[in-house]
């Protein structure tokens, strides 16, 4: 690493970067890059790679769930004789697939992939900074993420298989190698991978916060920040406050596993032996885990909401409705997300009074969420909607956010949770909000900012096909699951044929699996479009969507330092679309106020 180009990113306004034409080596440009735009691409492509693995895993176990006991040559082809002898998925392998699918999706795609990509790309560009506050930490953040991805994928191939206790890895199941084969080496690797992942998250998060607070360009007051930046700021704060708790949670588990402590273990007799553990509490783990785990849900969701706010306003050619309420609801959701973790634990034997408190706090989240949903719809109302693929995904996001959010009301209600806890109802709920809403936010963001990232356009028609197939299949997979869950079908079951009372609802399972396979295959459209367009896409113009935010004032061809001349000054908020005082239907933030115009 040469230090010559780690120059004064932070010096901000007026510093002329145009004359820096030093040669960058291939390695420092594409591999150990400290440029936020390159790092963002690295995050995105790694996340796409991880996403493909996670989708494949889900198709493997959907085959078993759709047609239990049926043999599929494909499974044997991919998983080999050990995990799928004769093409029949092995029971432990099934649990490993479920676990790693969840882990990759939640952490690697929706946290690393979503925040990593868009925080890196958008924060410096939208606040008007030359780069992140610390390019070096940013680079470390990506490489810690890459390392943890490699370890997580490698854990699929170790003796005993990958971690298999569910992505929530509750001890004692995850703590005792005697309890299941996946709790051996696979679990150790899972924990090590997560430690690197968290390091990546923290390095990234600190950088995002510092950049947003300190490196805004002249005129970019907090109230003029685009909602994407607000969402990414709150996301980063949530991450910085909650991930350290997960580290301690994971380290204590490592110690229980390897060094004979008993933080989470007590009174256990397994494999013919009474273990020398007393006084620990498995419930302690759950408290620590969900103290991260619930903010994590919003770490996943908020960036998607921020992205869609931006895309919806741009393509409806209307200011986002209720900017202040949108910011307020992001802050409220962020705050509340820290005091609701207990709603994952109503049936753990936690004090019922404590349960009541969590019912109260959890249901409060419905209020800012409803405000957001209504504001999106009002933004579209009387707009002039341009259906770009990014816009379609953002509208899809609003639909799934509403649909998935509403079932959360039932799960938040402890008295009702008793009967649907850990059933497919929960699977339906969180897949519609995370598997659909958050993913839609991510995909919408990719379609929208692809021209900024790669200087090329993605194909619109393929984008349309991708959206409609994904929307129909996504709902086709997850909506019927509500009914499977209400009928009493637990999640993480390998086979339901042992239960007579569930058989009547099990004819939904093959349907769900077909939708999953088609929906999974449809992602090939996106992947093809993505990689093909990087090389052969139509060249992009500087501001293809007629957008107001600062990133579209930078040249199409990326340069280090973002703006060739001085950093532009900001004179207005980001949402002056169809302002009656102007002829154009958009007014970029850099346009000075007209005499007599009321600024925002």
């Amino acid at each position: 690493m040469s230090t010559e180009h780690t120059h004064d990113h932070g010096h901000g306004n007026g510093h002329d970067h145009g004359h820096h034409h030093h040669e960058e080596s291939w390695v420092s440009k594409y591999v150990f890059s400290q440029d936020h735009k390159m790092i963002s691409k690295q995050f995105l492509i790694t996340a796409i790679f991880m996403g493909v693995i996670a989708v494949m895993l889900s198709i493997f176990f959907r085959l078993q769930l759709g047609w239990p006991g049926e043999k599929f040559g494909m499974l044997n082809f991919f998983l080999g004789d050990k995990w799928a002898p004769d093409g029949l998925l092995e029971k432990n392998a099934y649990l490993a697939m479920v676990t790693i699918h969840g882990t990759i999706m939640v952490f690697f795609v929706l946290t690393g992939g979503l925040s990593g990509t868009f925080a890196n790309l958008l924060i410096p560009l939208q606040v008007g900074a030359r780069d992140m506050a610390s390019g070096f930490l940013n680079m470390l953040s990506y490489w810690a993420f890459a390392l943890s991805s490699v370890i997580m994928v490698a854990s699929l191939f170790v003796e005993g298989g990958a971690a298999s206790g569910g992505w929530t890895i509750y001890p004692p199941l995850s703590a005792l190698p005697q309890a299941m084969p996946g709790s051996g080496t696979g679990m150790t690797l899972w924990l090590i991978s997560m430690v690197f992942f968290i390091a990546s998250s923290l390095l990234g998060g600190l950088n995002y916060i510092v950049t947003i607070i300190n490196l805004r360009t002249k005129g970019m007051s907090m109230t003029r920040l685009p909602l994407t930046v607000w969402a990414l700021l709150v996301t980063a704060i949530l991450g910085v406050l909650s991930f350290p708790v997960l580290v301690s949670c994971a380290v204590l588990l490592l110690m229980d596993r390897s060094f004979g402590t008993a933080f989470y273990l007590s009174d256990i007799f397994i494999q013919g032996e009474a273990l020398d553990v007393t006084g620990g509490s498995p419930i302690l783990f759950q408290h620590l885990f969900w103290f991260l785990g619930h903010p994590e849900v919003y770490i996943v969701l908020l960036p998607a909401l921020g992205i869609s706010s931006e895309i919806i306003a741009t393509n409806a050619r209307k200011p986002i409705f209720g900017y202040k309420a949108m910011v307020g609801s992001i802050l409220a959701i962020g705050f509340l997300s820290f005091i609701v973790w207990g709603h994952h634990m109503y049936v753990t034997g936690m004090n019922p009074f404590l349960g009541s408190v969590f019912v109260f706090t959890t249901l409060l989240i419905a209020i800012p969420s409803a405000v957001k949903a209504f504001n999106y719809i009002t933004t579209l109302y009387q707009g002039n909607i341009r259906f770009t693929p990014g816009m379609l995904f953002s509208i899809g996001l609003v639909s799934t956010f509403v649909t998935g959010g509403l079932t959360g009301i039932i799960l938040a209600d402890s008295a009702l949770d008793v009967n649907v806890h850990d059933t497919y109802f929960v699977v339906a709920h969180f897949h519609i909000v995370m598997g659909m809403s958050a993913i839609f936010g991510m995909l919408g963001g990719v379609y929208h900012w692809f021209p900024k990232m790669f200087g090329k356009m993605m194909n619109t028609k393929l984008g349309y096909a991708h959206f409609w197939i994904t929307l129909v299949c996504g709902y086709g997979v997850f909506f019927p699951m509500h009914f499977v869950g209400l009928a009493g079908a637990p999640r993480r079951y390998y086979d339901y044929s042992e239960f007579e009372f569930l058989q009547w609802v099990m004819d939904l399972n093959p349907i769900i699996s077909v939708f999953a396979i088609v929906g999974g295959a449809a992602q090939l459209l996106f992947i093809f479009n993505f990689f093909h367009s990087i090389y052969y896409g139509q060249p992009a113009t500087q501001n293809p969507w007629g957008s107001n935010t600062l990133e579209w004032t930078t040249p199409v061809k990326h340069i280090h330092g973002n703006w060739p001349g001085a950093i532009p000054e900001v004179h207005r908020w980001a949402y002056d679309y169809s302002n009656p005082e102007h002829d154009d239907d958009f007014v970029p933030q850099v346009v000075p106020l007209k005499p007599g115009e009321h600024g925002h």
Binding site: F269, N459, E500, L525
Partner: protein, 414 residues
């Protein structure tokens, strides 16, 4: 069915390949820019929004009609409250679901881009925003109040004459224990678990025999170490393993010696009341119309006792006994008649991932008249009687069939 599936998948793949080809063609033909959405495209997408809305709603209604009666009527007293609350909530969210989604899709359909029109500059409206902050707020207040009333009913203390039943979980089966004629459970400890004491019930005899067993084991290991001192044939690491084993056995012994005795309300010691506890495997029986208080314990990992027909669920946590109370209201026989299904059985299933055979960790629940229940209970062996004749219980066929090659766990403890 299978053919259909293969057909659908094949068609999907063909469609994708075709689309990719179309892509190449359109690229060559089209002069317009990707970012310029043609009026025709825009109109098409707007119409698709509306089409999708109808498809989505019709699908939803079909699901409600076909699968909306999710479970038979609740077979427990609190289950009625839960179901009432569930219906209320489901109705409310369903209405909101239709309203919000139709607003979204209709608005998207109606306001598609037209060149001659400008969007309305409408940035905020405090009154509107107040309305949609207050309405959810008030609704949530109602939901919270109703929810907590029911929650308090469910979780309140059991009445004094409730029948206590202990459910003990392990990978991958359930064992039930009923207090014997004295009405009180004997104490238990995981340190005393052995092949003839699966629940680790404490009696003076059991303590003595377990300590004897451990002492014998220690002697055996020590003897083999002594042997090695003379011959020095064992590798160092194996010697360490044996020393570690002795250490752990001694700790185990110490934990047993540390077990405390305490007085039960009747004045008896909790080490004396375990002998007449009745132990049932394969089925648990409950009397109709009587309040039952379940005490849940777990031997190895977290499990969850889920009884969907009773709207009841509670995790079983090693080292932390949990409880759940309920009053069954419909006997198995009555439920069979209601459903017209002679085979129907209430079932308790594991609902917390616990290992390879998690998906088949179940036990039948039989609800019957108090007389039948008493008669059944009398037939169950007491702890002492069981010890003298450790016969295979009728349920073993159920549970031992499941652990697969990957899970050699159940065998070790059975």
């Amino acid at each position: 069915m299978k053919l259909l599936v293969i057909l659908v998948i094949a068609l999907a793949i063909i469609a994708i390949v075709q689309l990719s080809k179309v892509y190449e063609f359109t690229r060559a033909l089209r002069k317009s820019k990707e970012e310029e959405i043609s009026p025709a495209d825009n109109k098409l997408q707007a119409n698709l929004m509306l089409v999708w809305m109808f498809v989505f709603f019709i699908g939803t209604i079909w699901l409600y009609i076909r699968y909306g009666h999710y479970l038979p009527e609740p077979a427990s007293e609190h289950g009625k409250d839960v179901d009432w609350l569930m219906s209320l909530n489901l109705w409310m969210i369903t209405v909101m679901f239709f309203i919000m989604n139709s607003m979204l899709f209709i608005v998207s359909w109606k306001f598609y881009y037209r060149k001659d029109r400008k969007a309305r500059f409408f940035a905020h409206d405090n009154r509107l925003e107040m309305i949609w902050t207050l309405i959810p707020g008030i609704t949530m207040a109602f939901i919270i109040v109703f929810g907590l009333i029911t929650w308090n009913k469910i979780t309140g203390p059991a009445s004094a004459d409730a029948i206590t039943v202990e459910l003990y979980s392990k990978q991958f089966d359930w064992t039930a224990r009923y207090p014997g004629d004295n009405g009180e459970f004997g104490a238990s400890s995981y340190n005393l678990i052995s092949s003839d004491n699966a629940l680790g019930i404490i009696t003076k005899d059991k303590i003595a025999s377990k300590i004897e067993e451990i002492d014998a084991e220690i002697e055996k290991v020590k003897a083999s170490l002594e042997e090695n001192k003379k011959l020095a044939t064992m590798p160092e690491s194996y010697v360490e393993t044996l020393q570690d084993k002795i250490y752990r056995l001694e700790r185990h012994k110490q934990r047993i010696l540390d077990l405390g005795e305490s007085k039960l309300p009747s004045g008896k010691s909790n080490w004396e009341t375990g002998g007449d506890d009745r132990i049932a495997k394969g089925e648990i029986h409950l009397p109709v119309g009587k309040e039952i208080e379940f005490i849940f314990r777990s031997q190895d990992v977290i499990h969850s006792a889920y009884m969907p027909h009773f709207r009841a669920q509670m995790n079983t946590v090693p080292g932390l006994p949990t409880r759940f109370k309920m009053t069954p209201t419909i006997t198995t026989k009555e439920m069979r008649e209601k459903l017209g299904d002679d085979e129907f059985n209430y079932v308790l299933l594991c609902n917390k991932i616990c290992g390879a055979a998690h998906f088949n960790m179940q036990i039948d629940v039989v609800v019957e008249s108090p007389e039948d229940y008493e008669a059944w209970l009398k037939k169950q062996k007491t702890f002492i009687a069981q010890e003298t004749a450790p016969a295979a219980s009728p349920a073993t066929a159920d549970t031992t069939a499941t652990p697969a090659a990957g899970a050699p766990i159940a065998a070790a403890t059975n």
